[in-house]
Amino acid sequence: MRTMLGRTLREVSAALKQGQITPIELCQKCLSLIKKTKFLNAYITVSEEVALKQAEESEKRYKKGHSLGDLDGIPVAVKDNFSTSGIETTCASNMLKGYVPPFNATVVQKLLDQGALLMGKTNLDEFAMGCGSTDGIFGPVKNPWSFSKQYREKRKQKPHGDNEDSDWLITGGSSGGSAAAVSAFTCFAALGSDTGGSTRNPAAHCGVVGLKPSYGLVSRHGLIPLVNSMDVPGILTRCVDDAAVVLGVLAGHDCKDSTTIQDPVKPFMLPNLTDVSKLCIGIPKEYLVPELSSEVQSLWSKAASLFESVGAKVIEVSLPHTSYSIVCYHVLCTSEVASNMARFDGLEYGHRCDIDVSTEAMYAATRREGFNDVVRGRILSGNFFLLKENYENYFVKAQKVRRLIANDFVNVFNSGVDALLTPTTLSEAMPYLEFIKEDNRTRSAQGDIFTQAVNMAGLPAVSVPMALSNQGLPIGLQFIGRAFCDQQLLAIAKWFEKQVQFPVIQLQELMDDCSSIFENEKLTSVSLK
């Protein structure tokens, strides 16, 4: 029998309802595991007191029989770029170190209103700019699979010269902290954000489900923006059903976010797909790129065959403008970044330098000290693209290309395709030492290659773990659905999830044996030198 923490959200919710465990016990178990797995660096802030207080409240409700629903008493984690009232929100940046928002992001508030327990704020790339969760001021997040039995055993079989201790893997990003937190059983669901793949990419690397809802379905109020026109709060869970539960809570109009849909959202009741043969699955041929690892490619084919084998129509489709997506994204992303980051001037909140010779000098020093190279680089290029003489040639062109990319999807879906099936990432998670050989921009271009166009088009997409690679590492595939057909998309993903029976991560050593934890902590300090 699986431990309580190893269960899915819906399973543990049932256990809470049946009194097999109380919210306080559950909360304490998670807190203790968070401490044990501190070396993963998944959390920036652990909100222990808040969580325990919430657990007490939840416990009272359960005792009275007034539970608020599926999320009552469920430990969750939130990426540290969502505003949390009274809890430091840093974006993993010096600029916001010590910043305590006076309000909750709408999605956070919705989770709390349902009785969820906020365990803490998870690590990320600074201001979510990256795809490794390696570029924040609190250091990189380590992929729990680096320490899994599955991966370790495969490593033993192969001769390798590297120091095993520093040979841990990245989580992907930028929501790597959230993915690691869910993967390592420290919480049952986590919020990420997804601008170019930042939820799906680490989900794939960490063997969890990563959902990017349709743009406009979930409120962005309180999410510290990267690219407003592409950002969506993402959901990371251990199974598709759990993602559907959380989405059901988060979705809907928010009067504080004018870009959310006005139509009321019906509760998400995820059906079991009975007749998959009526489905039409599209395989975009442009996603077969030379950089794609053969393992991922073969799993992708296997998945397609799976649908075919039950009578679904699987067809090759074309998204002809896909190859322009990354460069187009670069222009649009940096332009909005330049604009969004203008507010960080050290006046109202956040970091302020000591220089006070003039307002301008203070701005310059504050921003130089507050932002890392990646953020500063994007601000610089964004401002370049927005200059009067460049605006037409860069920004306007990129907007036009964005429209073409979005239209590619519209055309495919209009031709009768229900969902697209693609890889989520080029390969399984990379060792950190290998990953940091490339610069952030190159890495982002590679990391977001299959996920990024979806954000241009505002579509829903979900990464579902399919199988382990030869190295014993998770590989996820991505389903892309029609705008606002998130429910249908999840139903397909759920069917797929059931077929592939992705193995559970084996972290017994971590979870049960304190001595191994101790060893790992030592290991952390070595690698951080």
Partner: protein, 555 residues
């Protein structure tokens, strides 16, 4: 001459070295100017070119000035343009600041319906085309009182375009004439106000008050159809009146609810427009006119002396009466505009395009707003002219003072006196008293009813007009007294007894034989002196026409 000369018809306004010609674009204009209307009582309508005698001599240049305006009017609304913060003038610093106003990360703008309606209503009143779809943009610049580092405005597609504003300028001395003019309105856009910076140079600190940050503004862009300070000031006053009538802005310049930036250039007619300067933050109509005229003159002098005009931003130093370059606006600004991604396009509907079953709270129907438009000042003035035979300039004055029209109309309701008489009393006596004590109409101690009663007494010839003035003064001083009460208390009633009056005349003539002699010699002024003496003897209670009649009879 083919090219229109742009500086025209500015009474008494002559640029040195400038040859002022009558604008060929002025089809309706009656030419005047201080020179051509030198004779009093000159019959109007005589079309005469202005200053025809003054051909430019050799070596002399003629200059034309071109003035355009950007006017920022604070929208009269309970809350800000994109946040729920209250809007109050003179609230304690930073007491009206929402998280959005302070640009806390993650906050998003939510458009205020009231501000949109105000923009549509203003657009309709200014004959604009209302765009059914308009867009918001970010305009970037770093400034301490702009927390987000950008202002949300409507650069690409504003809510209203292509309108016009009609106004009238006085020309010549009395009796003055009114020239109707029109300035085109390029666009009206919705945008955020900034906060306020207070520089404390002594402690080298800057204090920031964000109460104003995010308040809704209407930016009204007037095309460069004006040519001098007075035209600009008059156009602004007319716009101010329209905004106040609509209730879309309180438009009080002193409180900063109406701020004007002027773009000014000079050139030789027929040649391309000159380099323009921008004079910023003009917050009274008088300073606006002064600043523009100063700047025009400065540019002409500069060019005449072989200098050049820089495309720069200047401010008006009202103490020195001149414009000076603004230091912190030096260098070219690139605002790096970008579409505001957090606000969907603003869609407006009319009765035709309104989607069936649309929630009225979610949509704005232009036609509904059109129906709610109040009577505009120009229409009101026309009515006054038609109804009461009022002079146009009187109708202007009546509307330019808040509450004065209502006061006038209330007096009219209760009096039998001639409209002309009422107008004269309201505009000269009443308004004069108000101005003297710097009071608003609403603060007047004299009610419309009291003035009406007073004018009725005058109309019945129960009191003389000079006694009426005394009664008015008394009314002003002692609140609550009625005119009739004052008349009887001070014995100001007109002497109706002819016999007594005749005796007084007789006595006065006997006391002043020299004046009587003068009168008999035919000195026309002598009788007036005698009338004055008799009136004095009656304590101003006699009708001078009756005195005159008696005196003439007695001679």
């Amino acid at each position: 001459m083919a090219a229109p000369v742009l500086c025209r018809l500015c009474p008494g306004r002559r640029w040195s070295l400038a040859y002022i010609n009558r604008g060929s674009r002025h089809e309706t204009g009656t030419p005047t100017g201080s020179r051509s209307s030198g004779k009093r009582g000159q019959s109007s309508g005589v079309q005469q070119p202005l200053i025809t005698a003054e051909k430019p001599r050799k070596g002399e240049h003629e200059w034309a000035a071109v003035v355009g305006l950007e006017i920022h009017a604070q929208i009269s609304s309970n809350s800000k343009l994109f946040s729920g913060s209250q809007v109050h003038f003179a609230a304690p610093p930073n007491s009206l600041v929402s998280f959005f106003d302070a640009s806390l990360p993650g906050t998003l703008p939510v458009l205020n319906r009231r501000c949109v309606e105000a923009a549509v209503m203003t657009g309709l009143a200014l004959n604009c085309r209302i765009n059914k779809k308009s867009l918001f943009d970010r305009k970037h610049y770093f400034y301490a009182d702009l927390p987000a580092g950008y202002q949300i405005t409507q650069q690409r597609l504003p809510i209203a375009v292509n309108g016009s504003l009609a106004y009238s300028v006085f020309v010549g001395k009395k009796p003055s004439q009114l020239i109707n003019k029109t300035v085109r309105i390029k666009q009206i856009q919705l945008e955020q106000d900034s906060g306020k910076s207070l520089h404390d140079d002594r402690r080298s600190q800057t204090l920031i008050d964000l109460n104003r940050a995010g308040v809704g503004l209407l930016e009204v862009v007037l095309e460069p159809d004006m040519s001098c300070g007075e035209e600009a000031a008059t156009a602004v006053k007319e716009l101010q009146l329209i905004l106040q009538t609509l209730g879309t802005s309180q438009a009080n310049m002193a409180e900063g609810q109406l701020r004007v930036d002027a773009n000014i250039s000079v050139h030789h007619p027929g040649e391309p427009l000159g380099v323009r300067t921008e004079v910023k933050n003009l917050n009274s109509a008088r300073f606006l006119a002064k600043a523009i005229d100063y700047e025009i003159q400065r540019q002409i002098n500069e060019l005449e002396n072989g200098g050049e005009i820089l495309n720069e931003t200047r401010s008006f130093d009202y103490k020195l009466g001149c414009t000076v370059p603004m230091r912190d606006k030096e260098g070219k600004q690139d605002y790096r505009f970008i579409p505001e991604p957090n606000l969907p396009p603003l869609l407006l509907y009319d009765s035709v395009s309104l989607p069936a079953g649309a929630d009225p709270q979610q949509v704005i129907d232009i036609d509904q707003i059109r129906k709610r438009l109040p009577e505009l000042p120009s229409v009101t003035r026309e009515k006054l002219i038609q109804q009461y035979g009022m002079l146009p300039e009187h109708s202007l004055t009546l509307l330019n003072e808040a509450g004065l029209l209502e006061f006038f109309q209330n007096v009219m309701k209760e009096t039998r006196a001639e409209p002309k008489k009422v107008t004269s009393w309201v505009l000269n006596t009443f308004l004069g008293f108000l101005k003297q004590q710097n009071l608003a109409v609403s603060e007047s101690p004299v009610t419309p009813s009291a003035l009406a009663e007073l004018l009725n007494l005058l109309d019945r010839k129960a009191i003389s007009s000079s006694a009426a003035k005394q009664v008015f003064e008394e009314l002003w001083r002692s609140k609550g007294k009625t005119p009739a009460h004052i008349v009887s208390e001070k014995e100001l009633g007109l002497l109706q007894d002819r016999e007594t009056l005749e005796q007084l005349c007789q006595a006065t003539m006997e006391e002043h034989p020299q004046v009587v002699m003068d009168m008999k010699k035919g000195n026309p002024r002598a009788i007036n002196k005698l009338i004055g003496l008799v009136r004095k003897a009656t304590l101003s209670r006699a009708d001078p026409t009756v005195i005159k009649e008696i005196l003439e009879k007695k001679l």
